[in-house]
Protein backbone atom coordinates (compact mmCIF):
# COMPACT_ATOMS: atom_id res chain seq x y z
CA UNK A 1 0.00 0.00 0.00
CA UNK A 2 1.19 3.50 -0.77
CA UNK A 3 1.93 6.02 1.90
CA UNK A 4 -0.97 8.39 2.49
CA UNK A 5 -1.35 11.47 4.67
CA UNK A 6 -4.59 11.08 6.60
CA UNK A 7 -3.71 12.18 10.12
CA UNK A 8 -0.74 14.09 11.46
CA UNK A 9 0.03 10.93 13.48
CA UNK A 10 0.84 9.14 10.21
CA UNK A 11 4.10 11.09 9.94
CA UNK A 12 7.04 10.52 12.25
CA UNK A 13 9.08 13.44 13.54
CA UNK A 14 11.68 12.70 10.84
CA UNK A 15 9.04 12.71 8.10
CA UNK A 16 7.59 15.98 9.39
CA UNK A 17 11.05 17.58 9.29
CA UNK A 18 11.64 16.15 5.82
CA UNK A 19 8.37 17.65 4.51
CA UNK A 20 9.32 21.03 5.99
CA UNK A 21 12.72 20.85 4.30
CA UNK A 22 11.13 19.96 0.95
CA UNK A 23 8.64 22.82 1.41
CA UNK A 24 11.59 25.19 1.88
CA UNK A 25 13.02 23.93 -1.41
CA UNK A 26 9.65 24.42 -3.08
CA UNK A 27 9.48 27.99 -1.83
CA UNK A 28 12.98 28.67 -3.14
CA UNK A 29 12.40 27.04 -6.55
CA UNK A 30 8.85 28.20 -7.23
CA UNK A 31 7.33 26.36 -10.16
CA UNK A 32 8.86 23.25 -11.70
CA UNK A 33 8.09 20.35 -14.03
CA UNK A 34 8.74 17.76 -11.34
CA UNK A 35 5.35 16.08 -11.77
CA UNK A 36 5.03 16.57 -15.51
CA UNK A 37 2.56 14.01 -16.89
CA UNK A 38 1.01 13.23 -13.49
CA UNK A 39 -2.66 13.76 -12.72
CA UNK A 40 -3.92 14.86 -9.30
CA UNK A 41 -7.59 14.41 -8.33
CA UNK A 42 -9.05 17.04 -6.01
CA UNK A 43 -12.30 15.55 -4.71
CA UNK A 44 -14.20 18.03 -2.58
CA UNK A 45 -17.30 16.31 -1.20
CA UNK A 46 -17.99 19.54 0.67
CA UNK A 47 -16.99 22.98 -0.55
CA UNK A 48 -13.79 24.59 0.72
CA UNK A 49 -12.58 27.10 -1.79
CA UNK A 50 -9.47 28.15 0.10
CA UNK A 51 -8.10 24.64 0.65
CA UNK A 52 -9.05 23.50 -2.85
CA UNK A 53 -7.32 26.43 -4.56
CA UNK A 54 -4.22 25.89 -2.45
CA UNK A 55 -3.96 22.20 -3.40
CA UNK A 56 -4.81 22.81 -7.04
CA UNK A 57 -2.23 25.56 -7.33
CA UNK A 58 0.33 23.34 -5.61
CA UNK A 59 -0.30 20.58 -8.18
CA UNK A 60 -0.15 23.06 -11.06
CA UNK A 61 3.11 24.56 -9.85
CA UNK A 62 4.66 21.09 -9.93
CA UNK A 63 3.58 20.63 -13.54
CA UNK A 64 0.80 18.12 -12.78
CA UNK A 65 -2.72 18.26 -14.20
CA UNK A 66 -5.73 18.48 -11.92
CA UNK A 67 -9.17 16.88 -12.23
CA UNK A 68 -11.97 16.79 -9.68
CA UNK A 69 -15.09 18.44 -8.36
CA UNK A 70 -15.71 21.21 -5.85
CA UNK A 71 -19.04 19.97 -4.52
CA UNK A 72 -21.15 16.87 -4.97
CA UNK A 73 -24.25 18.46 -6.52
CA UNK A 74 -23.52 17.37 -10.11
CA UNK A 75 -21.83 14.04 -9.42
CA UNK A 76 -23.08 10.47 -9.15
CA UNK A 77 -22.61 10.78 -5.37
CA UNK A 78 -25.86 12.74 -5.35
CA UNK A 79 -27.39 9.65 -7.01
CA UNK A 80 -26.31 7.57 -4.02
CA UNK A 81 -22.98 6.16 -5.17
CA UNK A 82 -20.91 4.87 -2.27
CA UNK A 83 -17.68 6.59 -1.31
CA UNK A 84 -15.85 3.36 -2.06
CA UNK A 85 -17.08 3.28 -5.66
CA UNK A 86 -16.22 6.92 -6.27
CA UNK A 87 -12.71 6.44 -4.89
CA UNK A 88 -12.15 3.15 -6.74
CA UNK A 89 -13.22 4.72 -10.02
CA UNK A 90 -11.15 7.90 -9.66
CA UNK A 91 -8.09 6.00 -8.42
CA UNK A 92 -7.99 4.18 -11.76
CA UNK A 93 -7.57 7.50 -13.53
CA UNK A 94 -5.09 9.47 -11.44
CA UNK A 95 -1.81 9.22 -9.54
CA UNK A 96 -2.89 10.74 -6.22
CA UNK A 97 -6.17 11.78 -4.58
CA UNK A 98 -6.64 14.90 -2.48
CA UNK A 99 -10.01 14.76 -0.76
CA UNK A 100 -12.20 16.70 1.61
CA UNK A 101 -15.28 15.06 3.08
CA UNK A 102 -17.82 16.03 5.76
CA UNK A 103 -17.69 12.57 7.39
CA UNK A 104 -14.97 11.87 9.94
CA UNK A 105 -12.74 8.98 8.92
CA UNK A 106 -13.75 9.23 5.24
CA UNK A 107 -10.17 9.84 4.09
CA UNK A 108 -8.79 6.92 6.11
CA UNK A 109 -11.41 4.67 4.56
CA UNK A 110 -10.66 5.98 1.07
CA UNK A 111 -6.95 5.25 1.55
CA UNK A 112 -7.84 1.64 2.40
CA UNK A 113 -9.98 0.96 -0.67
CA UNK A 114 -7.53 2.23 -3.31
CA UNK A 115 -3.86 1.65 -4.00
CA UNK A 116 -2.71 5.19 -4.71
CA UNK A 117 -1.77 7.83 -2.10
CA UNK A 118 -4.59 9.83 -0.49
CA UNK A 119 -4.16 13.25 1.09
CA UNK A 120 -6.77 14.22 3.66
CA UNK A 121 -7.77 17.83 3.02
CA UNK A 122 -10.16 17.74 5.97
CA UNK A 123 -12.58 15.06 7.20
CA UNK A 124 -15.30 16.84 9.15
CA UNK A 125 -14.12 17.93 12.58
CA UNK A 126 -11.40 15.29 12.64
CA UNK A 127 -8.07 15.93 10.85
CA UNK A 128 -6.59 18.43 8.43
CA UNK A 129 -2.91 17.47 8.43
CA UNK A 130 -1.70 19.80 5.66
CA UNK A 131 -2.89 22.70 7.85
CA UNK A 132 -0.81 21.38 10.72
CA UNK A 133 2.26 20.99 8.53
CA UNK A 134 1.92 24.52 7.17
CA UNK A 135 1.58 25.82 10.74
CA UNK A 136 4.82 24.02 11.65
CA UNK A 137 6.54 25.36 8.54
CA UNK A 138 5.46 28.89 9.44
CA UNK A 139 6.63 28.55 13.04
CA UNK A 140 10.01 27.29 11.79
CA UNK A 141 10.23 30.09 9.23
CA UNK A 142 9.42 32.87 11.69
CA UNK A 143 11.38 31.61 14.69
CA UNK A 144 14.29 29.89 12.96
CA UNK A 145 13.59 26.78 15.05
CA UNK A 146 10.81 24.47 16.21
CA UNK A 147 12.40 23.59 19.55
CA UNK A 148 11.57 25.54 22.73
CA UNK A 149 8.90 27.79 21.22
CA UNK A 150 6.18 29.35 23.38
CA UNK A 151 2.78 29.30 21.70
CA UNK A 152 -0.32 31.11 22.90
CA UNK A 153 -3.41 29.50 21.40
CA UNK A 154 -6.49 31.70 21.45
CA UNK A 155 -10.19 31.23 20.79
CA UNK A 156 -12.02 27.98 20.19
CA UNK A 157 -9.79 25.44 21.85
CA UNK A 158 -12.67 23.03 22.38
CA UNK A 159 -13.76 22.34 18.81
CA UNK A 160 -10.80 23.77 16.87
CA UNK A 161 -9.16 20.81 15.16
CA UNK A 162 -6.18 22.90 14.00
CA UNK A 163 -5.40 23.61 17.64
CA UNK A 164 -5.56 19.96 18.65
CA UNK A 165 -3.46 18.73 15.73
CA UNK A 166 -0.87 21.48 16.16
CA UNK A 167 -0.34 20.83 19.84
CA UNK A 168 0.10 17.13 19.15
CA UNK A 169 2.57 17.78 16.34
CA UNK A 170 4.49 20.32 18.44
CA UNK A 171 4.86 17.74 21.22
CA UNK A 172 7.96 16.49 19.33
CA UNK A 173 9.68 19.83 19.86
CA UNK A 174 9.68 20.69 23.55
CA UNK A 175 7.09 23.52 23.41
CA UNK A 176 5.39 25.66 26.08
CA UNK A 177 1.76 26.62 25.72
CA UNK A 178 -0.69 29.21 26.89
CA UNK A 179 -4.31 28.35 26.21
CA UNK A 180 -6.52 31.42 26.06
CA UNK A 181 -10.22 30.61 25.88
CA UNK A 182 -13.53 31.41 27.53
CA UNK A 183 -14.82 28.74 29.92
CA UNK A 184 -17.18 27.36 27.27
CA UNK A 185 -14.37 26.73 24.79
CA UNK A 186 -11.54 25.47 26.99
CA UNK A 187 -9.17 22.78 25.80
CA UNK A 188 -10.70 19.30 26.35
CA UNK A 189 -9.28 17.17 29.16
CA UNK A 190 -7.91 14.52 26.79
CA UNK A 191 -5.42 17.03 25.33
CA UNK A 192 -4.35 18.19 28.77
CA UNK A 193 -3.76 14.55 29.66
CA UNK A 194 -1.74 14.19 26.45
CA UNK A 195 0.54 17.04 27.53
CA UNK A 196 0.74 15.95 31.16
CA UNK A 197 1.88 12.52 29.99
CA UNK A 198 4.71 14.15 28.03
CA UNK A 199 5.64 16.74 30.62
CA UNK A 200 4.75 19.67 28.37
CA UNK A 201 4.20 22.85 30.41
CA UNK A 202 1.02 24.85 29.82
CA UNK A 203 -1.14 27.45 31.49
CA UNK A 204 -4.75 28.37 30.85
CA UNK A 205 -6.14 31.89 30.80
CA UNK A 206 -9.39 33.67 30.03
CA UNK A 207 -7.67 36.95 29.18
CA UNK A 208 -6.21 37.65 25.74
CA UNK A 209 -4.05 40.43 27.22
CA UNK A 210 -2.51 38.26 29.94
CA UNK A 211 0.01 36.34 27.82
CA UNK A 212 0.39 38.56 24.75
CA UNK A 213 3.86 39.69 25.80
CA UNK A 214 5.43 36.37 26.76
CA UNK A 215 4.81 34.21 23.69
CA UNK A 216 6.66 33.67 20.40
CA UNK A 217 3.60 32.62 18.43
CA UNK A 218 0.09 33.96 18.92
CA UNK A 219 -2.14 31.37 17.28
CA UNK A 220 -5.58 32.93 16.84
CA UNK A 221 -8.62 30.89 15.80
CA UNK A 222 -12.12 31.69 14.71
CA UNK A 223 -15.09 30.50 16.75
CA UNK A 224 -16.77 28.31 14.14
CA UNK A 225 -20.53 28.62 14.14
CA UNK A 226 -20.99 25.26 12.39
CA UNK A 227 -19.46 23.39 15.35
CA UNK A 228 -22.17 24.56 17.75
CA UNK A 229 -25.44 22.71 18.13
CA UNK A 230 -26.82 25.40 20.45
CA UNK A 231 -27.05 28.85 18.79
CA UNK A 232 -27.24 30.53 22.23
CA UNK A 233 -23.89 29.07 23.19
CA UNK A 234 -22.39 30.43 19.97
CA UNK A 235 -23.82 33.93 20.52
CA UNK A 236 -22.27 34.03 23.99
CA UNK A 237 -18.73 33.38 22.81
CA UNK A 238 -18.46 34.43 19.17
CA UNK A 239 -16.95 37.86 19.83
CA UNK A 240 -15.09 36.98 22.99
CA UNK A 241 -11.64 38.05 21.74
CA UNK A 242 -10.64 40.81 19.40
CA UNK A 243 -6.98 41.57 18.83
CA UNK A 244 -6.25 45.22 17.99
CA UNK A 245 -3.06 47.04 17.10
CA UNK A 246 -3.10 49.03 20.35
CA UNK A 247 -2.84 45.79 22.37
CA UNK A 248 0.48 44.85 20.78
CA UNK A 249 2.58 47.29 22.86
CA UNK A 250 5.40 45.41 24.52
CA UNK A 251 5.12 42.11 22.69
CA UNK A 252 8.32 40.20 21.88
CA UNK A 253 10.14 41.41 18.75
CA UNK A 254 10.03 37.93 17.25
CA UNK A 255 6.33 37.42 18.04
CA UNK A 256 4.20 36.48 15.03
CA UNK A 257 0.44 36.22 14.78
CA UNK A 258 -0.87 33.16 12.95
CA UNK A 259 -4.44 32.32 12.02
CA UNK A 260 -5.70 29.39 9.90
CA UNK A 261 -8.13 31.83 8.20
CA UNK A 262 -10.79 32.79 7.40
CA UNK A 263 -11.01 35.32 10.23
CA UNK A 264 -14.13 37.21 11.15
CA UNK A 265 -13.78 39.67 14.01
CA UNK A 266 -10.96 38.21 16.07
CA UNK A 267 -8.15 40.18 14.42
CA UNK A 268 -8.85 43.82 13.61
CA UNK A 269 -7.76 45.05 10.17
CA UNK A 270 -5.31 47.52 11.75
CA UNK A 271 -3.17 44.58 12.91
CA UNK A 272 -2.48 43.60 9.29
CA UNK A 273 0.14 46.32 8.81
CA UNK A 274 2.12 45.54 11.94
CA UNK A 275 5.35 43.50 11.71
CA UNK A 276 3.65 40.82 13.82
CA UNK A 277 0.91 39.89 11.33
CA UNK A 278 1.93 36.75 9.47
CA UNK A 279 -1.34 35.05 8.52
CA UNK A 280 -1.26 35.96 4.82
CA UNK A 281 2.25 34.60 4.47
CA UNK A 282 1.11 31.56 6.45
CA UNK A 283 -1.61 30.91 3.87
CA UNK A 284 0.94 31.22 1.07
CA UNK A 285 3.17 28.75 2.91
CA UNK A 286 0.29 26.32 2.68
CA UNK A 287 0.86 26.09 -1.04
CA UNK A 288 4.56 25.23 -0.64
CA UNK A 289 3.81 22.67 2.03
CA UNK A 290 1.15 21.05 -0.17
CA UNK A 291 3.63 20.94 -3.05
CA UNK A 292 6.00 19.12 -0.69
CA UNK A 293 3.30 16.69 0.49
CA UNK A 294 2.25 15.75 -3.05
CA UNK A 295 5.84 15.37 -4.28
CA UNK A 296 6.79 13.29 -1.24
CA UNK A 297 3.82 10.93 -1.43
CA UNK A 298 4.45 10.36 -5.15
CA UNK A 299 8.02 9.42 -4.34
CA UNK A 300 9.68 12.39 -5.96
CA UNK A 301 11.16 14.00 -2.85
Amino acid sequence: MHKSLISIHDFSKEEILHILEVAREMEATGSSKLLDGKVVACLFFEPSTRTRLSFETAANRLGARVIGFSDVANTSISKGETLKDTIKMVSNYVDIIVMRHPLEGAARYASEVCDIPVVNAGDGANQHPSQTLLDLYTILQTQGRLEDVTINMVGDLKYGRTVHSLLQAMSHFNPRFFFTAPDELRLPAEYKAFMDARGIPYKESRSLQEHLCDCDILYMTRVQQERFSDPMEYEKVKDVYRLERSMLQGVRDNMKILHPLPRVGEIAADVDDTPYAYYYKQAQNGMYVRMAIIAYLLGYK
Binding site: S7, T82, K84, L103, E104, G105, A106, Y109, N126, Q127
Partner: protein, 154 residues
Protein backbone atom coordinates in the same frame (compact mmCIF):
# COMPACT_ATOMS: atom_id res chain seq x y z
CA UNK B 1 -31.44 -18.73 44.99
CA UNK B 2 -28.27 -19.90 46.70
CA UNK B 3 -24.74 -19.88 45.27
CA UNK B 4 -24.80 -23.65 45.55
CA UNK B 5 -27.89 -23.83 43.37
CA UNK B 6 -26.30 -21.77 40.57
CA UNK B 7 -23.24 -23.99 40.73
CA UNK B 8 -25.52 -26.94 40.14
CA UNK B 9 -26.99 -25.19 37.14
CA UNK B 10 -23.53 -24.52 35.76
CA UNK B 11 -22.56 -28.14 35.86
CA UNK B 12 -25.86 -29.20 34.44
CA UNK B 13 -24.76 -29.25 30.82
CA UNK B 14 -22.99 -32.28 29.48
CA UNK B 15 -20.64 -30.66 27.01
CA UNK B 16 -20.17 -27.04 26.11
CA UNK B 17 -19.18 -23.63 27.39
CA UNK B 18 -20.26 -21.81 30.53
CA UNK B 19 -19.71 -18.08 30.81
CA UNK B 20 -19.82 -16.96 34.42
CA UNK B 21 -19.33 -13.75 36.40
CA UNK B 22 -20.98 -11.54 33.82
CA UNK B 23 -22.32 -8.32 35.37
CA UNK B 24 -26.14 -8.67 35.27
CA UNK B 25 -26.56 -5.48 33.21
CA UNK B 26 -24.10 -6.69 30.56
CA UNK B 27 -25.63 -10.06 29.82
CA UNK B 28 -27.56 -9.01 26.75
CA UNK B 29 -24.47 -7.33 25.32
CA UNK B 30 -22.58 -10.60 25.70
CA UNK B 31 -25.42 -12.38 23.92
CA UNK B 32 -25.06 -9.87 21.08
CA UNK B 33 -21.26 -10.16 20.96
CA UNK B 34 -21.42 -13.94 20.57
CA UNK B 35 -24.47 -13.66 18.31
CA UNK B 36 -26.30 -16.19 20.47
CA UNK B 37 -29.71 -15.07 19.32
CA UNK B 38 -28.92 -16.93 16.10
CA UNK B 39 -27.46 -19.96 17.84
CA UNK B 40 -28.70 -23.42 16.85
CA UNK B 41 -27.35 -24.91 20.07
CA UNK B 42 -29.31 -25.09 23.32
CA UNK B 43 -28.54 -21.91 25.31
CA UNK B 44 -29.49 -21.29 28.93
CA UNK B 45 -29.33 -17.76 30.25
CA UNK B 46 -29.51 -16.75 33.89
CA UNK B 47 -29.84 -13.12 34.92
CA UNK B 48 -29.83 -11.40 38.32
CA UNK B 49 -28.36 -14.36 40.15
CA UNK B 50 -26.76 -13.61 43.48
CA UNK B 51 -23.02 -13.24 43.46
CA UNK B 52 -20.69 -12.46 46.31
CA UNK B 53 -18.28 -10.45 44.14
CA UNK B 54 -20.67 -8.77 41.68
CA UNK B 55 -23.89 -8.41 43.69
CA UNK B 56 -25.98 -9.65 40.82
CA UNK B 57 -24.50 -11.59 38.00
CA UNK B 58 -25.47 -13.28 34.81
CA UNK B 59 -24.51 -16.68 33.49
CA UNK B 60 -24.75 -18.21 30.03
CA UNK B 61 -24.46 -21.88 29.19
CA UNK B 62 -24.10 -23.01 25.61
CA UNK B 63 -24.33 -26.74 25.00
CA UNK B 64 -22.07 -28.49 22.51
CA UNK B 65 -20.31 -25.35 21.48
CA UNK B 66 -16.68 -24.36 22.01
CA UNK B 67 -15.52 -20.92 21.02
CA UNK B 68 -12.18 -19.78 19.65
CA UNK B 69 -10.23 -17.64 22.13
CA UNK B 70 -10.58 -14.76 19.71
CA UNK B 71 -14.36 -14.93 19.96
CA UNK B 72 -14.29 -15.28 23.74
CA UNK B 73 -11.93 -12.35 24.16
CA UNK B 74 -14.52 -10.03 22.61
CA UNK B 75 -16.67 -10.59 25.69
CA UNK B 76 -14.17 -8.42 27.54
CA UNK B 77 -15.80 -5.40 25.91
CA UNK B 78 -18.91 -5.91 28.04
CA UNK B 79 -17.69 -8.17 30.83
CA UNK B 80 -13.93 -7.90 31.37
CA UNK B 81 -14.01 -10.11 34.48
CA UNK B 82 -16.11 -12.90 33.02
CA UNK B 83 -14.80 -16.44 33.42
CA UNK B 84 -15.11 -19.25 30.93
CA UNK B 85 -15.57 -22.88 31.91
CA UNK B 86 -15.19 -25.60 29.32
CA UNK B 87 -17.40 -28.57 30.16
CA UNK B 88 -16.84 -32.12 28.94
CA UNK B 89 -19.03 -34.93 30.27
CA UNK B 90 -20.40 -32.74 33.12
CA UNK B 91 -16.90 -31.86 34.34
CA UNK B 92 -15.12 -28.53 34.14
CA UNK B 93 -12.09 -29.56 32.12
CA UNK B 94 -10.69 -26.05 31.60
CA UNK B 95 -11.11 -22.62 33.12
CA UNK B 96 -10.17 -19.67 30.95
CA UNK B 97 -9.60 -16.01 31.68
CA UNK B 98 -10.48 -13.70 28.88
CA UNK B 99 -8.01 -11.14 27.55
CA UNK B 100 -9.10 -7.82 26.17
CA UNK B 101 -8.30 -7.84 22.44
CA UNK B 102 -6.14 -5.00 21.10
CA UNK B 103 -8.41 -4.43 18.15
CA UNK B 104 -12.11 -4.99 17.67
CA UNK B 105 -13.41 -5.39 14.13
CA UNK B 106 -17.02 -5.37 13.05
CA UNK B 107 -18.97 -5.93 16.30
CA UNK B 108 -19.11 -2.51 17.95
CA UNK B 109 -20.75 0.68 16.74
CA UNK B 110 -18.97 4.04 16.78
CA UNK B 111 -20.81 6.55 18.97
CA UNK B 112 -19.79 9.50 16.79
CA UNK B 113 -22.78 10.32 14.56
CA UNK B 114 -20.44 11.93 11.98
CA UNK B 115 -18.18 8.88 11.71
CA UNK B 116 -17.94 7.43 8.20
CA UNK B 117 -18.77 3.97 9.58
CA UNK B 118 -22.27 5.19 10.48
CA UNK B 119 -23.00 6.37 6.92
CA UNK B 120 -21.09 4.14 4.50
CA UNK B 121 -20.87 0.34 4.34
CA UNK B 122 -17.57 0.26 6.25
CA UNK B 123 -16.79 -2.44 8.85
CA UNK B 124 -16.02 -0.70 12.14
CA UNK B 125 -12.56 -1.04 13.62
CA UNK B 126 -11.38 0.06 17.04
CA UNK B 127 -8.37 -0.24 19.25
CA UNK B 128 -9.16 -0.85 22.91
CA UNK B 129 -8.04 1.49 25.67
CA UNK B 130 -8.42 0.78 29.38
CA UNK B 131 -9.10 3.93 31.36
CA UNK B 132 -9.87 3.73 35.09
CA UNK B 133 -10.68 0.03 34.67
CA UNK B 134 -13.24 0.85 31.98
CA UNK B 135 -12.85 -0.41 28.44
CA UNK B 136 -13.07 2.33 25.83
CA UNK B 137 -12.93 2.02 22.07
CA UNK B 138 -10.81 4.31 19.91
CA UNK B 139 -12.20 4.45 16.37
CA UNK B 140 -9.67 3.69 13.65
CA UNK B 141 -11.56 5.98 11.26
CA UNK B 142 -12.86 9.09 13.04
CA UNK B 143 -10.25 8.84 15.87
CA UNK B 144 -12.94 9.48 18.50
CA UNK B 145 -13.43 7.48 21.66
CA UNK B 146 -16.58 5.44 22.22
CA UNK B 147 -17.09 5.21 25.98
CA UNK B 148 -19.62 2.39 26.12
CA UNK B 149 -19.77 -0.72 24.00
CA UNK B 150 -22.70 -0.45 21.59
CA UNK B 151 -23.32 -3.56 19.48
CA UNK B 152 -23.61 -2.97 15.73
CA UNK B 153 -27.17 -2.58 14.54
CA UNK B 154 -28.30 -0.77 17.70
Amino acid sequence: MSEKHTQLKVSAIKDGTVLDHIPAQSIFQVIDILDLSHSENPVTIGVNLESRSLGRKGIIKISDRFFADEELNRIALAAPDATVNIIKDYEVVQKKKIDLPETVVGIAKCSNPMCVTNHQPVPTRFSTVVDHKKVKLLCHYCEKTTEEFIPLGH
